[in-house]
Amino acid sequence: MSTTAPQADSTPKPSSGLLGGLADWFDDRTGYRALVHEALYERVPGGARWRYVWGSCLVFAFMTQVITGLVLWASYSASAQTAWESVYYIQHEMAGGWLLRGIHHVMAQAMVVLLALHLMQVVIDGAYRAPREVNFWLGLILMQLVLGMALTGYLLPWDQKGYWATRVATNLAGLVPLVGPSLQQLVVGGPDYGHHTLTRFFALHAGFLPATLVGFLVLHLTLFRKHGLHAKQPITKPDAMFWPDQVLKDAVAMLAVMAVVLGVILMPALRAMLAGEPIVTGHLGAELGAPADPSQPYAAARPEWYFLFLFQFLKVFEGWGASGEFLGAIVVPGLTLGLMFLMPIIGRWKLGHRFNVAFTLAILAGAGLLTAMALHEDYYALWADKTAYADVEELLKKTGGDEQQLAAALGNDEAKLAEFEKRRHEYEAIRKSEAFLVAVKQAKADAERAVDLAGRPEKIPPAGALSLVRSDPLSQGPLLFAQHCASCHAHIDPAKPEAAAIFAQASAANLFEFGGLVWARGLLDPEQVAGPAYFGNTAHSDGDMVSFVTDELSDPDLWKPDEVEAVIVALAAEAELPTGGASADLVAKGRGLMADTDRCGSCHAYADNETELGYAPDLNGWGSREWLVGIITDPTHQRFYPEDNDRMPSFGVGSNGGPPTLTEDQIGLIADWLRGSWYRPAGH
């Protein structure tokens, strides 16, 4: 290691030879040697140190973002129909796209961490003091630019996560006094979120903010060089040169940062490898949620982890009304930043410097604590014991949460009531966390489904991936069912332990795998037909079908077991659902029995049995898509229950000439979902 600066070695000197001559020629015209010399041979008072690496690491991280960002840009398309789609393509179809995006995504987070470290080092070392005040301010501006890029980048994939987080962020921007609403409208690009939100965020993220950042970075580095490095006192070692001593330390630190970034990206792959599972590269690196949909709630909405403290901070002001919101989102962060700008002035006094250090550490600690609180709230249910609150749950259920009833149930005892309130609070916290975890799981499933659909051989239609999701029975069926059917019908596998409780609450048949073998078998089972999974809770509970099954079908003299079985498979065949490998003969036999006017055909019309429609549902195509669409559209149609329809609305017929409750497409989606007919990727 050199003890004195090797000045003599580094001064430019004329060279010989062809290459040297060329270099001289070039230096003559550009003065590049002096520039390089200036750049590399900077004195580092007291020698190279690890604590000086953060600034260089940040520049390195920024360069990484520029390189990966430019290439991402080359494949990205900012519009409501193409943003998610192009990011999907990068992540799942482009060679190396997952790695490129992964590096960009994880490095952005690394940058936030590095920023905090750099800031901490500068403040603790007092490097903001005269004459470096201006450079400290430049640094604070750079920090805000970086955070601005992080915020704007989050929206660009146009997935549910980015969309809802951005809605919250831009709505908060609307709280800025006077200009807020206009500011919000300018950022959003109009009164509503759409193409122009994306184009604007993209222009900010990839153009305006980085260009400004480069400008400020040049100033920051120029001033840094002008004043020289602020050495940590006391200096015990001899000075060294930036090149190569400090550069080596910087380079090692950069490599470490890159290693961590790669580690984060590849960790799941390693885990999969160890578990012997296949590695899906599309699942590595940055997540891609389901396409943004303003009409679908996204209960897993959270900002990126480094903004989580701000998010949690808003909750601190619970019950403060609008002023709390304003304080939490605008005033406190604004004041904090203002105080940071004043640090170089406060730091002139010894006590002031101590205050600055304490303040910075307090902010970082506070942010850390808020982040931990946010995570704790969200994941609480993972370790909390809900069973310990079974009594609370029961009491709440019994009283319906009614204050007076609660008080009465607790004997109007103040102390007991207070205790109950405390426990109720705990219980609610667990439930909130549970809801969040369910939402996260759902979000993941939705995201996976969207990716499956986008990967169909037919690719994404011009209307975008959202149109695929909206016309997907697997995605829409459960939503439509929950909204229109679930108030009466259950939809649960009867083999599940919780099924019985759900059947008890339903007031119409369980529609799980309706029309399939299991369903048909249950229908013709004397034990089940009058149960809550079939006609039990309906007006048909003592109807002819129920008495037919209980009285006649169960009588082996009238119906031989293999005849019942034949009808069951014939019904499934009619529904065009799997018949469990039943022979064609058996199906034909069942069909014969269905048509037989002494058997099913005495009430039901089937094939050419000439039984009139109207008394019992048509068995032609029973349970098929067409049949299901028909009964959902209008159960009072001649083919179904013209006389004795039990409460089922005609979803496809408008009342008094108005439009129907459900469109043809929506009814089709429900029918397809009930029949389990949706796109399945190969290998699933």
């Binding site: 409501a80 129909q81 809802w164 809605r167 919250v168 709505n171 908060l172 609307g174 709280l175 609403p181 206009s182 409208q185 300018l186 959003v188 690009g189 109009g190 009164p191 509503d192 759409g194 193409h195 122009h196 303003p294 009409s295 679908q296 709630p297 996204y298 209960a299 897993a300 909405a301 998010f311 808003l314 909750k315 002001f317 619970e318 019950g319 009304g321 609008a322 709390g324 919101e325 304003f326 989102a329 709440l396 319906g400 949460g401 609610e428 439930r431 909130k432 809801a435 969040f436 939402a439 909204q483 108030s487 609305p649 408008g654 009342s655 008094n656 000439g657 108005g658 439009p659 409750t661």
Partner: protein, 184 residues
């Protein structure tokens, strides 16, 4: 070749001032043109409004049981997003309820008055809950204290038309403030 003469300082000073002023004016004007054009275009979104809220059909009265239970309905309408025209797109959601024996309905916007997330119904706790910052509301939309939300859920005007359809006046409101102010 002109001969170098020494100008008198007064003329020099005046000339110098005019030169400087001209340089600044020319350069400034030249630069301001693109800047002006840029600002003009950047401010375009301020001219755009969502249009006054219009009454949109969300459901049929006949299909809304009169049990006082709010039910969620999507709000569907044609929508223009810059250059794309969508027909019959879901743009949001409302909760509509009908009291026992009543022929009128009440509607609440599903958009959280706190910061615009999607408020969901918690059937078990018989309340509304916003997943974002845990604002809770009663089934009438009232605030359950303590809440980050500064105001109750936003009620929307309703009508029942001749054919028995429920029409709701769909509007967006500014979030995070105590008063309910419709966005233009």
């Amino acid at each position: 070749m002109s001969e170098h003469t020494k100008a008198d300082p007064a003329t020099e000073g005046r000339r110098g001032f005019i030169t400087k002023a001209l340089a600044i004016c020319c350069g400034g004007l030249a630069t301001l043109t693109p800047v002006g054009a840029a600002i003009w275009a950047v401010l375009d979104p301020l001219r755009r409004t969502a249009g006054a809220g219009s009454f949109l059909r969300v459901a049929d009265l006949a299909n809304l049981p009169d049990d006082g239970q709010p039910r969620q309905f999507p709000v569907i309408t044609d929508r223009v997003d810059a250059w794309t025209g969508y027909d019959a797109e879901p743009i949001g959601a409302v909760y509509v309820k009908r009291e026992k024996g009543s022929d009128t309905v009440e509607a609440l916007s599903a958009t959280c008055p706190h910061a615009g997330c999607f408020v969901e119904m918690d059937k078990e706790s018989k309340c509304f809950r916003c997943p974002c910052h845990n604002s809770a509301f009663t089934l009438d939309g009232g605030i359950v204290a303590p809440s980050p939300s500064p105001r109750p859920m936003d009620s929307l005007e309703c009508q029942i038309d001749k054919s028995g359809s429920i029409l709701v006046k769909w509007q967006n409101f500014y979030t995070g403030i105590e008063e309910k102010v419709a966005r233009p």
